[in-house]
Symmetry: C2
Subunit: 564 residues, 2 copies
């Protein structure tokens, strides 16, 4: 027998039509750059529109792009910040049967050009604040036929057209192309901390399923009554899919544009009565400092509507989760994923029966959490066998699901994809993790950041989280330095808080109760900042290059501990 359900494809036009017909009156708020102040800093202008307008313009954009003589599946690149215009492109480009290629604006122009060429982009939409890059891109990217600029330019650039004129010069697309749900819809490149960036191509199906799985309350908890500020950039893994998830469920969207400093965000959260916000830990450190400052000045922000501060991109230390909860009554929820996983793989909502503000609750919330539906994870040993989910055993995290990559663009990086004995395809994340009996996954390290001391693994992330809990520490990275006896030993690189100081000995004393003695860092280097990459993560590779020889080169701080 056969099933007899309709063959309705899961496509992005269904989201666009939904937001157009059901949520036309719901607001979309964007901070745009209105000009520069005396110091050359951008000045914000708050722009308000509605989903109805966004949907109308998205359909005009789709019609306009169809008029450019492109083929189904051709790539349209964006080099844009978070705004209502970028949201139009999210909805309009895939609805025209084209592929939205969001490019990371924080990369070096040479890297941007490399990625534009590799993706064979034919159209580029670029934010006016990055217009200075246009000549270099045009020189390096001969495949790009048309360039459109979002927002006003101080003066026209020959051969460059205005995005708004393109949009408003066309009537809304009346009929979408017939799209298979497995057709490509969007692409992103991995941040590429090793080797060249690799392209991940999302499909209409993966995008729709990801939105459905993201919305329920144990995941991101998005509904029509919510106001969502995604600080995670729209050029990075589709801003965790939130522009699509919010549109599907009619949540009001707020975009911060280039204004991601603590005071700007705190003000925006308060003014727009945001209920859900999402970003990386470095953003939350900035916000936390501003909330602490305001509270100390007895002028706290009113964030009473804020239900979830979602943190991802890298691990949030338990100390930060506690600080938001205990000092400001704010619930931080970790979510984990990668460019290759669309990204949502796990979320750290605590299970029934555990008090979220108990020690057990905090410990669980410091983990990356349990899978959302349809995602499977496993733990792989170095010899390719599956390891137990006991909360203790370390292994490589592997993942599988309908919004997980099966390959990279052009077939690169095939070693990351493999078939297990069950005949099923899995992706090797490169993360070293534990998984407990209930399914809570806890990242211990990136495989390449693990410290191998005397044949045993030491987790740099665990040590970093413990050290960052010290009140005098603002940031910390733990890396491997070469050691003649143990091969590698941990070295802590610490940025103290302003006007505070701490010694290596004090830090070691502070964290000693939590670790085996051989895990403790041999030394600490104090510095005024840590290098941060284009997606907001510490660049440990740079630190390793700088400090690999630290022990043999002078060992300034104290003698090696007695080995036990």
């Amino acid at each position: 027998m056969q099933g007899n359900m309709m063959d309705v494809q899961l496509t992005i036009p269904t989201i666009l039509e939904r937001v157009r017909t059901q949520y036309a009156g719901r607001e979309v708020v964007s901070l745009l750059v209105a000009g520069r102040d005396d110091q050359g800093q951008p000045v914000a202008h708050k722009h308000r529109t509605t989903y109805g307008e966004v949907a109308d313009r998205a359909r005009r954009l789709a019609a306009a792009l169809q008029g450019l003589n492109l083929n189904l599946g051709d790539r349209v690149a964006t080099l844009c910040v978070n705004s209502f215009r970028h949201l139009e492109a999210y909805l309009g480009v895939p609805s025209a049967g084209l592929v939205l290629h969001t490019v990371n604006i924080r990369l070096h122009p040479e890297q941007v050009a490399w990625i534009l060429n590799h993706a064979e982009d034919r159209v580029l939409i670029i934010e006016n604040v990055f217009a200075a890059m246009i000549p270099a891109i045009r020189a390096a990217c001969p495949l790009i036929e048309r360039i459109f600029v979002m927002g006003p330019l101080p003066q026209a650039i020959p051969g460059v057209d205005d995005y708004d004129a393109l949009v408003m010069g066309h009537e809304p697309l009346e009929r979408y192309p017939q799209l298979d749900e497995n057709a490509p819809a969007a692409m992103c490149y991995t941040s590429g901390t090793t080797g060249n960036p690799k392209g991940v191509v999302y499909t209409h199906r993966s995008t729709v399923l990801h939105s459905l799985a993201s919305a329920p309350k144990d995941a991101l908890g998005v509904g029509e009554a919510d106001t969502v500020l995604a600080i995670v950039p729209m050029f990075h893994v589709n801003a965790w899919g939130l522009p699509y998830t919010c549109a599907m469920y009619g949540a009001k969207q707020v975009f911060a544009g280039v204004f991601s400093d603590g005071p700007s965000l705190a003000r925006l959260l308060e003014e727009e009565q945001v209920t859900i916000t999402a970003g990386v830990p470095t953003i939350w450190m900035g916000l936390l400092a501003e909330l602490d400052r305001a509270r100390a000045a007895q002028a706290p922000y009113d964030l009473s509507r804020l239900q979830s501060v979602i943190s991802g991109g890298s691990a949030s230390p338990e100390s930060m989760i506690r600080a938001f909860q205990e000092r400001h009554g704010l619930r931080m929820l970790q979510a984990w994923g990668m460019t290759e996983t669309h990204p949502l793989g796990t979320a750290s909502a605590v299970p029934v029966g555990v008090d979220p503000v108990s020690d057990e609750g905090y410990a669980l919330r410091a983990k990356q959490g349990r899978t959302v539906p349809l995602i499977d994870i496993g733990l792989l040993s170095d010899d390719g066998t599956l390891l137990p989910h006991d909360g203790q055993t370390l292994g490589r995290l592997i993942i599988r699901g309908p919004w997980v990559a099966s390959s990279y663009f052009k077939g690169e990086g095939q070693a990351n994809f493999f078939t297990l004995d069950d005949g099923q395809l899995w992706f090797d994340t490169g993360d070293i993790v534990t998984i407990d009996e209930r399914g809570f996954m806890h990242i211990q390290d990136r495989a390449k950041d693990l410290i191998k001391s005397g044949g045993e693994w030491i987790s740099s992330v665990e040590l970093e989280n413990a050290i960052m809990a010290h009140p005098a520490v603002a940031q910390c990275a733990v890396i491997a330095m070469d050691d003649p006896k143990w091969d590698e030993r941990p070295l802590a690189v610490v940025v103290p808080r302003p006007n505070q100081s701490v010694t290596h000995e004090e830090l070691i004393e502070f964290i000693t109760p939590r670790f085996a003695r051989w895990w403790l860092p041999d030394a600490t280097v104090f510095t005024d900042h840590l290098p941060i990459g284009a997606t907001g993560k510490f660049l440990k590779r740079e630190l390793r290059d700088e400090y690999r020889q630290y022990k043999s080169s002078g060992w300034p701080q104290r003698p090696a501990r007695s080995d036990t």
Copy 2:
């Protein structure tokens, strides 16, 4: 270019594996029949188990069924009440690659046999309380090879085996068959108020997508912290998919078995601290009476955890929604669907900016609501053109989506499926509705229940809801009676509340402010009960047969109104 996302199929074994690994400790509670009291009424025994046990037994059941020499896609019928064992069958039967055919236990044995034969069921699982039907079924259904009984029997029946023995006689299935997501997973027959019942075959894909779309907070709002009592029977449209949705998200499930009277339900809601419950309006009338009684007796139930009383199957009158809210602080949420739509099509959560307990909020909550994602609805005129969504225009509701039927089993009833000018397939629901600018759908009538007076339509449902708001009215159905001048005129059939009385004139006076004069019923018949069908709906066809000639046959109550 191609997308490069994994080809992971959406199948029910992914739900079974999820509940087994992530929610093994979560409870499943069932009211079973422990025996009979002196009056022959069933006595309840509360059975407690866990998802871990249910999943283990579901996998044993899957292995056992695979040992019965069945083929992929063969049907396994259930004639069972709501319980943990039925949940095992929900998870285990499709995970073995077989099709779970849930049969309505309230049908006449001849109808049951007709359906079993039509579906070509090879195995029947039947609840012990219905064992008396077995000889008749065996005589009428030669295709059924094996019969298993859930629960103990007073004495063995030759050729009938014990379900628990079947389950526990096998080890859990280790590896599920490779299933395409479009493979059949479950089937239900329509209630068939006209013509023979028709089979709808759900697929693995439609079931998984329906669960994903049901969970978010603007739909049914299911999460791990919830405790869900689905009173809607598991033999009817998969109990609105709740057994699967709850399993996917780890919500505790409570099953009432045969105990669906008001006092039993009120006690169960209180004892298990239920947060979400779902049923049809006739069930809620019984619960409301019990809650009113207990409050009047100054011994109210503690239902402080109950967040949503979900009502579907037929329209809930605004008066009932108000009664739950105003007298008991309980939020009633309407959801609409059909056997052909799996069932969830719309839900009546109020939009942002509308106070749910204002007059506007109540009016919206008395509608059937807006679509969930991926569902499209439209309004069709009698001549096949699309009508405007203006909240006024009446038309036939058509629907389309990935969990909407594209045909009936064996290709019957093809007139209900048709292709619009856009080339897409739609299902004609047979409901007469309005749809407003925001997408709120409001059922005015079944097409066959509309009253056609002088060439204009009168909605029986609107009149019923208005009359049921009268404090002396317990139940009301409005039907067409033949009229020599106007073709048809409305007749109200009313069941008064115990020890109360009301006249036709008082009812007409009560509803006159809300309707055009020509809508008002010409007469009222008072009776002590209305005929109710196997799915809890009033059988208007029986009433029409009885009262069609009411006007010409004597007109006992009052002279015809002056026609204006």
